[in-house]
């Protein structure tokens, strides 16, 4: 591990390529998990907004 920004960017790019090359069904399962996480964050954000009113 390093704090070399160029290496960090390159490793992120490599991870994205690795994810992109996964089988379609696995990618869709990941998409569903990510979407559920995004929805949870959205719900939490809405709840904290209404609490602060």
């Amino acid at each position: 591990m390093s704090f070399d920004l160029q290496k960090i960017i390159e490793s992120k790019r490599a991870l994205r390529r690795k994810l992109a090359s996964k089988p379609l069904a696995e990618k869709m399962r990941l998409l569903e998990q990510l979407s559920e996480r995004a929805a949870s964050i959205k719900r939490a954000r809405s709840a904290s907004k209404s609490d602060s009113k």
């Binding site: 790019r13 991870l15 994205r16 390529r17 994810l19 992109a20 379609l24 069904a25 990618k27 869709m28 990941l30 998409l31 569903e32 990510l34 979407s35 559920e36 996480r37 995004a38 929805a39 959205k42």
Partner: protein, 175 residues
Amino acid sequence: VNIQQVLQVINQMQSDAIIERYAVGGAVGATFYLEPVATLDVDIFVAFQPEPGHLIVSPKAIFDYLARRGYAMEGEYVVITGTPVQFLPTNGPLVEEGLEEAVTHHLDGIPARVFTAEHLAAIALQTGRAKDKARLLQFVEEGALDSARFKDIVTRHGLETQWQRFERQFLDDIP
């Protein structure tokens, strides 16, 4: 989001002649070629059947069909097994061509008509919002495009200026 169940419903709509053709677009469409990204909805581009006696195409037949099967409407969305699905009409020659040339992928054995990577990228270029540009950049960086085919689409649909601007803004610095 449950893509397989949504696809089964859309395929059935096609079998029942409610829609002529469809193609999955947006983040879900892009995931067929790129890494998965979070999305809260599924974009389905469709060629609408004009209603008898009407010149203007309407999504009413789609909504009626789905409502009869118990699916709820939420604003512009139809919620299919918990997933908000947005039906989008073809809004010009680029999307029409994309629908014509969409390819069939299979997801757990379920056929899915999806825009080609090059059409998804060109539609993103044409739409031009920040998130579309980010997606286009992913297509380019991940080498997911057939460059000649993409540039042909860009040229034929008059998107050269947007592409040159995009190249200057995002690609000139890529080593």
